[in-house]
Structures are given as structure tokens and as C-alpha cells.
């Protein structure tokens, strides 16, 4: 049934349909609507889950590590500083191979205190062993959340479903909410490969010497590889029931494109319109939407970008002292391909600033007019500000 709902509510609906057993979270803007809706579902009996109110995000994830070890389906949601506070436990969840699913609403980190969208919070957690999926709209968010549980439980790795603050989390759109029966066909009950058992209590997470630690890390890497390999099968299965597919990456008019813009998240929708407009004017432009960031779909991206001469990567994030993070990944992906296209890295929309069609067109024109990028990070729409601290 189609309903006009917020991106946050789309996540909550998916969590309800996934028949999650334990939810643990601490409120933080712009994530709060997700757990608020879920706590409503729990209190009115719509969802038969244990909702744990905890005192911090650190505890929220710690509680889920315990619950997931007990062999039940678990969910949390957070954002920005909250995710940063979870950092230690993000490593623990993946190292313990627990299929926890999290909705992560991209929000800038402070100071300056900023509640608007920015991908730096989730991208800063790229090495924690979590699968990361960046969503574009409400429907994709709902569908991806359902797929996240399926994928996590297949490869025993935690999954982060990432959505932009406000542009997605608080935007109302028509979303098709599937029937429970259909979701049950897609997502069977969680049958854990291991769990805490009070009848035969074993020790988990104990000391591991150099003799075995390296193999355990390799096992996590193998799980990531399996996730990459398995995603098409998950998409296939999902499309068979719901008729929708999303894929790890989505190339738009890339086959004959000379310049390809690379986006993630809600900027993609704006960019789709720009590409259509420019094509009408005869510009040879394409768009590559990257949804799966970890594991990074290297082969798919190489194939999709091969036709182009130039690539413009739009990053709503920044790694200080380096460049935009998607641009880094794309450069690393392409550098071993002979005759690969030149990569331009653009920084735009930081801290929730609008990335309009004009901003994207400026990026396109800059890319078209230069043979080589003047530097690895080109900041778009920067204002003149006094860079020295003024004394009163």
C-alpha cells in the first residue's frame, strides 16, 4: 500500500516488517523520528519487540551486541556524534560477526554545532567492518532496510543503512509499504549460526594471540567479499517478490558519456534531472550513483566509468589533509586501469548546504573546461570569509 511518509518512517516501517526482536537506541536529531515511530509500534503492540531505552549510543550498541549474540534480530539508529560515540563498539559488532542493522542519518559533526546533512560521520567509520548502503529516496530506504537484514544475516556482518538528514529523513514522499506476508517470504526468521547458550555457556570475544588473530581478520574480509558477491542475488530475490531493484551502483546514460558525474545519497536525484537537461542540449554526460560503499564495488565501477574521459566526483564530506572520500575511492579504483579517465574531486553541500542543479552544472562546466583538475579538492560555492580570528 502506498502512503506518503517521511524517510524516517520508511525505515521504521521496514524494521516493523522485519519483525525485529530487540531495538536499542538513544535519541539524536535527525534520527529521532525513526526510534520514536518504533517505540510507538512497540507500545501499541504493532511490533512485538523489546525496546531498550539506554543512556548513550555506546550503550545502545552494547545492548544490541548482547542481544544479537543471544541469537535475535536487532536494530538501532543514530547520527553524527552518536555514531562517533559508538565507534569502539562498531569494531566489536563486526569482529564478533553480529548481523546488527543500523539506520545512520548523515549529519555534520560539531563544532560548529550543525544538525544538517554531511556524510563525514558515516564515512569516518568506513574501516570498522560495517557494510554501508547509501540511499536516495524513501522507497529505496525502506527496501534497503529489508535487504540489510537479509544480507547481514547471510554474511554475519553488521549493516549501516545511510540516509541524508532532512533531505531524506524528514521529507514526505509516496512510499509503497509492502504486505507482511510478502516481507515474510523475502526475509525468513533469523537462524543464527552461533549464539549464547545458557545450557552450554561458552566464552565469546576472548584473548586471541597473534597466532590466530590475523586469520580472524581475514575471515571478516572474506565476509565482506561474500556480501559483494551476494548482493545481486539478494536484489534478484527482492525484485522477484516486490518488483523493484536498486543495485550496488546505478549508471545513468553512461555508455557514450564523455563526462560522468559520480554521486551518492539525495544529490543523485537532482543530478538525474541535470543530466537529462544537458543531454537535451547535446552534452555527452552521464551519472553514476554509488550506493554500496563498503564493500566497495570496484569491478562494477571500473566497468561503468570505462567509457568516459573525465569523472567528476561530488563529495558531501571531507577528509582533512586529503580530499573527498568518494573521490579517493574512485581514484584508487581506477589507478590500475590503463588509460583511465581523469578524476576531478568536488566538495559541495557540506553541513547541509543546498546542492542545487546550478551547483551541479557549475561542477560539470568546470570539469568540461579543464584538462586536468587544478587540485584534488575543488570546493564549490565557497564564500569570502575573514580567515584570521577577529579580536573584539
Amino acid at each position: 500500500m502506498k502512503k506518503v511518509i517521511e524517510g524516517s518512517q520508511a525505515v521504521a516501517e521496514a524494521v516493523r516488517l522485519a519483525r525485529v526482536n530487540v531495538i536499542s537506541a538513544y535519541p539524536i536529531t535527525p534520527q529521532t523520528h525513526i526510534v520514536e515511530t518504533l517505540s510507538g509500534f512497540c507500545s501499541d503492540g504493532t511490533l512485538d519487540a523489546r525496546f531498550l531505552k539506554v543512556e548513550s549510543e555506546h550503550s545502545a550498541l552494547a545492548a544490541l551486541i548482547g542481544a544479537s549474540s543471544g541469537g535475535v534480530r536487532t536494530f538501532t539508529a543514530t547520527s553524527s556524534q552518536g555514531l562517533a560515540l559508538m565507534h569502539e563498539l562498531l569494531h566489536w559488532a563486526s569482529g564478533a560477526r553480529l548481523p546488527i542493522v543500523m539506520a545512520e542519518v548523515n549529519r555534520a559533526l560539531g563544532p560548529g554545532w550543525n544538525i544538517w546533512t554531511d556524510q563525514t560521520d558515516s564515512l569516518a567509520q568506513r574501516d570498522t567492518g560495517w557494510i554501508q548502503l547509501y540511499c536516495e529516496d524513501g522507497q529505496e530506504t525502506l527496501d534497503t532496510t529489508l535487504q540489510a537484514f537479509y544480507l547481514a544475516e547471510r554474511v554475519n556482518l553488521p549493516v549501516m543503512v545511510v540516509l541524508d538528514a532532512f533531505f531524506l529523513s524528514h521529507t514526505y514522499e509516496p512510499v509503497d509499504i509492502p504486505d507482511q506476508e510478502a516481507v515474510d517470504r523475502f526475509l525468513p526468521p533469523f537462524s543464527p549460526r552461533f549464539q549464547l547458550d545458557t545450557k552450554n555457556p561458552c566464552a565469546f570475544g576472548s584473548l586471541v594471540t597473534p597466532d590466530a588473530y590475523m586469520e580472524m581478520r581475514r575471515s571478516i574480509a572474506a565476509g565482506m567479499e561474500a556480501a559483494l558477491e551476494m548482493l545481486p542475488e539478494v536484489e534478484e530475490r527482492f525484485a522477484g517478490i516486490f518488483g523493484r531493484r536498486w543495485a550496488a551502483i546505478q549508471p545513468v546514460r553512461c555508455d557514450d558519456a564523455e563526462i560522468i558525474l559520480v554521486t551518492s545519497g539525495t544529490v543523485t536525484s537532482t543530478c538525474r534531472e541535470l543530466v537529462d537537461n544537458l543531454r537535451e542540449k547535446g552534452e555527452k554526460v552521464g551519472l553514476l550513483k554509488v550506493k554500496l560503499f563498503r564493500p566497495f564495488p570496484v569491478e562494477d565501477i571500473r566497468r561503468a566509468l570505462a567509457p568516459a574521459r573525465k569523472i567528476a566526483v561530488i563529495d558531501r564530506n571531507f577528509s582533512f589533509g586529503a580530499s573527498g572520500i568518494f573521490a579517493q575511492e574512485i581514484r584508487a579504483t581506477l589507478c590500475d586501469t590503463p588509460g583511465h579517465p581523469t578524476v576531478f574531486g568536488f566538495i559541495a553541500g557540506i553541513g547541509g548546504r543546498d546542492v542545487t542543479k546550478d551547483v551541479l552544472e557549475e561542477i560539470y562546466q568546470k570539469t568540461k573546461q579543464s584538462e586536468r583538475p587544478e587540485r584534488e579538492d575543488i570546493w564549490i560555492g565557497l564564500k569570502e570569509v575573514p580567515h584570521a580570528l577577529e579580536h573584539p
Binding site: 552461533f194 561458552c202 576472548s206 572474506a222 534478484e236
Partner: protein, 587 residues
């Protein structure tokens, strides 16, 4: 079609032991030992009748109304009466009071008594083996009836002698109906009789009769009460239209008072004065209370004062009566203004004259209610002597082969029904110990039966019920883990509309539903008592809290308890204690 990946083939190499960890007896690490130890709630220490309030509210929460009511009956045969007329000092001691508002304990007691009456509950009481001694009780007021009740539970055959034609004493002949309906009192007295107590009414005894009874019975409990008003000593108090409050109240309860028209003044600040004024209003008159000190100095219960004022009773503070004289058909009361000059030893304001002026108040009737005393001097206990033992709520005197107990208002500092119950109970315990073990055994035995050492004597402890296992430590508010409680306002006692109250002697307080009662009982911290909340079980990181079928439903497995103390910290109600582990010899 993409290839299918076998989930079981995904690498899963994790740090988990192959064998059970049960071989690792982590209990050997422990230097602190948690132990379940139920403690004493402050309300139960403050209750003159030593009711096990924390447990009563816990049972109420669980909907076990009969068990809750029987728990009251172990300490007090009058839950219906006390739920209505007790001034509930328990609520002043309630630890919840420092969190939001005290539990409405008296409202819950009243609810349980009503529930028992409506449901015709038959109490199952523990009783001691039948004993050969016979005991006579003089006076069927709350103290005498309580003594007879507890003596019967202790196995003694008990006869009660009452001068009036119906039992109840001040409950029957003093307290007005709007506070205590007759049906409630009769039901509770009926239950005492059903236990085997024989009450002979219409038996006015002389001093000689009583000494004859002393030969016939092994022991006597004398609780003749304060049946006579203290004279005010105001010049003119014999004038027509001046009456003593106590006899007026008795007339009202006998149904002989008729209606009143005109203005009445009541002199006094105790509960009797309030009862007189509120009765005058109900009989159609106007009432004004004249008191020497201030409202906050009045010995009457503050709730009663507030309700009296609601009903239209006027209060004139800091006025001392000087003289009364007849004037035409009415009376003139001459009063002198007073002022506060310091504080008396009892905490009330000390008053002295304010100027030399006096004021004249014209009234139609005057009631004096300045205090009561025993009607006969031989009702009073003898002075201290070798064979006289002054206990907290009664006086015990030894006679060959038995003893006398003087109790009730005759010996109690605070004249309340709950204190009268305490007096009857303590008297029964004293006689029981005297007859079985002798005089010397009485003080230590009674001292061991107090709630939390300083509280009132408890019959359940005396009879060595499960309550005796509790630690006498009185739980303080900072020992409650209030993280587990949410602010929730106290139950409001529903009342008859004020307009209705002034026209009828119908009970002012109304019934509450079982839902409301459970909800109010759920507010109770159950200080020091385990209510099986399972926090210790859930928090124990070693799964060392084991469920069992014992009274607490759980025990600690010391093979694995590391002594981390989380259970004790997370216990909301301080039912666990953490002690230093005893050192083994040779270590």
C-alpha cells in the same frame, strides 16, 4: 540468474571457546558477598499498630487483596476503622514523600477493608495452641477489643465486659458517623467475636466487681478509657446552653441530639472539638471554634481541620475564653486576644495575653472540648512499684498467679485508635509472656518484638512469623534506587461534595476502584522488601542469581558470584546487602 551463495560457506572464524566455561568457578575471585536480606520499612516503624505496610502494598499491587487484608489483621483487627479514622503517621514517614508524594496508605487500608466486607472474606489466621488460663477484659473500646483479639490468637479464653449496651467504646459513642459508618465497626467487632471472644454488654462494673473478677480470672486487661470531659474552669460554665462536647457527641451517636438552630462556639483544639463543630453544622447550626493558640498548634489532625473549614466551620485563633454569661435567650462568651511568645517544649507556640482588651462573642450554645479523663480513679494504673512494669503502650502489674494490664487512653500518650490497638496488642503479649515465662521475661521478650527496634510491638514477630527474619535496619530514602521509579502523583481521596457533607452524616470519604488501588499501591517503594522484580537476576553478569521455590524465589550461586555488587546496586528497594567476605583461617 546470479549464482546462489551458500551462507554456511561464508567464513566465520570467531573467538569463541569450544568448551563450556562452567569449569571456571569465578566465585573464588569474590571478596564481597551479596546476600538477600529483607529490611524494615519506615512506615511500619511509624505505624502504632506495626502494620507490615510495605508487604500489604506489594500484595495489593498483585491483586492479592485477601492476603493483603490478612496481613493487616495479623497486627490490627480494625482495618476498616483505621483506614478511616487513623491519622496515618505512616505517611509522614514514607520514603516516597521525599521523591514526590507519600503513598495514600490509609486510603488503601480502607479499600482493603471494604473489599473484604464486600467479598465476605473469611480470614485465615495463625493461632497458638489453646491455653488453660482465662483472661477478662474490662471495656470494649478499641484497646480492650484488640487485647481480647490478640489474647484469643495467643490461645487464651477471653471475656470482655462492657458497660454500654453496644461494644466499640469511643468508636461507637464518640466518633461521628460521617467518619466511621456503624456497619463497618459492627462488621469488625463481629469478626472478633467470631474468633471466640465473648463480649458481655450492659455490664457496669464497680471496683469491687473488678476485684472479684481478679479472683475468677488469671489476668485482667483494664481499658475503661477516658469517658469524662475535663471541666474547662471558665467562670459561668454551668450556664444554660453550655455543654460538654463528649456527651454531646454521645447524644449524636445515640440519635438523641435532634436539630440545632443558631450559633455554637466550641472551645478546644483537639479532634473532639472538630467533631463537635462538624456535627453542629450537620444538625443545622453554625459552628465556630475558639482556640487559644494557632491552627498549626491544634492537636486535631490537620486534614480534619481542613475539612471542617470546607464545611463552613469558622476558626478563631489566639483567643482565650475568660467568662461565660447568659444574656436573654443566648450566651455571651468573653474572650481575650493572645499572642505567641516563644515555643513550648512540645513544639507548639506558647501564648500570653495580648493587651488588656477583651471581646464579647454572642452565641446560642457553647461546647467545651478541652480534654478528657478517666471517669473513675481506680481505672488508672497504680504508681510505680516493684511489681509495676511501665511498657510503651500499657502498664503491667503482677498479682499472684497472674497480672493486670492497664491500657488504652489511660496509659497512651497519644490518644488514637492505632495507639489503642498497640496497647491491646502489647498488653496481650505482656500477659502471654508473664503467664508462660514470668515477669522477668517480659521486658526482653517485648523488646525483641519491636519493628525496627524503635517501632511498635509486632504480633507477627511475637508469634515468630516470617517477619521476624527481617533486619531491623530501617530503609532510608537514599537507600532506594529511584532510577527505577517515575514521578506519579498521589491518589486523591474522592469525597462527598461539600454541600452534601453539611446536610448528612453520610461518610465523607468515598470508595475507590480496585484499579486505582493497584495503581496507588504500585507507587510504593516496598522499602527493604523483595517484590521479585528480577533486577538482580537480569543484571547479574555471571548468571549467578538462580530461581528457586523458596520464600524469595531466588538464591545466589556463590560458585560463580564474583561479588561485583551490581545486584545490590540495582536492587530498587534495598533487599540485598553486600558484606565483606569472611577470611578463611590460615589465609
Amino acid at each position: 540468474m546470479h549464482k546462489k551463495i551458500d551462507t554456511e560457506a561464508v567464513s566465520l572464524y570467531i573467538p569463541r571457546s569450544y568448551l563450556t566455561t562452567e569449569g571456571n568457578r569465578t566465585g573464588s575471585w569474590r571478596f564481597l558477598r551479596p546476600r538477600y536480606e529483607e529490611k524494615t520499612a519506615p512506615c511500619s516503624v511509624a505505624c502504632p499498630a506495626a502494620e507490615d505496610i510495605g508487604r500489604i502494598e506489594m500484595l495489593t499491587t498483585q491483586g492479592l487483596f485477601k492476603d493483603a487484608w490478612e496481613t493487616i489483621l495479623r497486627e490490627n483487627p480494625f482495618p476498616g476503622v483505621c483506614g478511616r479514622v487513623c491519622f496515618h503517621p505512616c505517611e509522614d514517614a514514607c520514603n516516597r514523600g521525599s521523591f514526590d508524594e507519600a503513598i495514600a496508605i490509609h486510603v488503601l487500608e480502607r479499600f482493603l477493608a471494604n473489599r473484604a466486607m464486600r467479598g465476605s472474606y473469611e480470614p485465615v489466621m495463625e493461632r497458638a495452641a489453646i491455653r488453660k488460663e482465662r483472661i477478662a477484659v474490662i471495656g470494649a473500646g478499641p484497646a480492650g477489643l484488640s487485647a481480647a483479639y490478640f489474647l484469643t490468637l495467643l490461645g487464651y479464653r477471653t471475656d470482655v465486659f462492657e458497660a454500654a449496651d453496644e461494644a466499640g467504646g469511643v468508636l461507637r459513642w464518640g466518633i461521628p458517623l460521617y467518619r466511621l459508618p456503624l456497619a463497618i465497626l459492627r462488621e469488625e467487632i463481629r469478626r472478633i467475636e467470631e474468633l471466640g471472644v465473648r463480649i458481655q454488654t450492659g455490664r457496669t462494673l464497680s471496683e469491687q466487681d473488678v476485684s472479684d473478677l481478679a479472683g475468677e480470672y488469671d489476668a485482667l486487661f483494664i481499658a475503661c478509657g477516658h469517658g469524662r470531659s475535663v471541666e474547662s474552669g471558665i467562670p459561668g460554665e454551668k450556664s444554660t446552653g453550655v455543654r460538654d462536647g463528649l456527651s454531646f457527641l454521645r447524644e449524636v451517636r445515640e440519635g438523641k441530639a435532634g436539630t440545632i438552630s443558631g450559633r455554637a462556639a466550641v472551645i478546644g483544639g483537639g479532634n473532639a472539638a472538630i467533631d463537635v463543630a462538624r456535627s453542629v453544622i450537620r444538625l443545622g447550626g453554625e459552628a465556630m471554634i475558639i482556640y487559644r493558640r494557632r491552627r498549626q498548634d491544634m492537636p486535631a489532625f490537620s486534614e480534619e481541620i481542613a475539612m471542617a473549614l470546607d464545611e463552613g466551620v469558622k476558626l478563631r485563633e489566639l483567643l482565650a475564653p475568660v467568662a461565660i454569661r447568659s444574656d436573654g435567650g443566648g450566651l455571651v462568651l468573653e474572650v481575650r486576644p493572645m499572642k505567641i511568645a516563644g515555643i513550648d517544649a512540645d513544639g507548639r507556640g506558647h501564648v500570653e495575653r495580648e493587651g488588656t482588651q477583651t471581646e464579647e462573642i454572642r452565641i446560642d450554645f457553647l461546647f467545651t472540648a478541652v480534654g478528657e479523663r478517666a471517669a473513675e480513679t481506680w481505672y488508672e494504673p497504680p504508681d510505680t512499684g516493684a511489681a509495676v512494669l511501665r511498657l510503651s503502650h500499657c502498664v503491667l502489674t503482677q498479682k499472684p498467679g497472674g497480672g493486670f494490664v492497664y491500657g488504652g487512653d489511660l496509659t497512651n500518650g497519644t490518644k488514637s485508635v492505632a495507639h489503642a490497638v498497640a496497647s491491646g496488642k502489647e498488653g496481650a503479649m505482656a500477659l502471654g509472656t508473664l503467664l508462660a515465662e514470668g515477669m522477668e521475661a517480659v521486658p526482653p521478650r517485648l523488646a525483641s518484638c519491636r519493628v525496627g527496634q524503635d517501632g511498635a510491638p509486632s504480633m507477627e514477630i511475637y508469634m515468630r512469623g516470617s517477619r521476624s527474619d527481617r533486619s531491623p535496619h530501617v530503609v532510608t530514602s537514599d537507600e532506594i534506587n529511584t532510577a527505577y521509579f517515575q514521578f506519579d502523583p498521589r491518589l486523591k481521596q474522592p469525597r462527598l461534595l461539600t454541600e452534601e457533607r453539611t446536610r448528612t452524616f453520610g461518610e465523607v470519604n468515598l470508595n475507590i476502584s480496585a484499579n486505582l488501588a493497584i495503581r496507588e499501591a504500585e507507587r510504593c517503594f516496598n522499602c527493604g522488601l523483595c517484590n521479585q522484580c528480577d533486577n538482580c537476576y537480569l543484571f547479574c553478569p555471571d548468571l549467578a542469581v538462580k530461581k528457586d521455590s523458596g520464600p524469595l524465589g531466588r538464591h545466589i550461586d556463590y560458585d560463580y558470584c564474583k561479588g561485583c555488587g551490581v545486584c545490590a546496586v540495582e536492587c530498587p528497594r534495598n533487599a540485598l546487602i553486600l558484606e565483606e567476605e569472611a577470611h578463611e583461617e590460615g589465609h
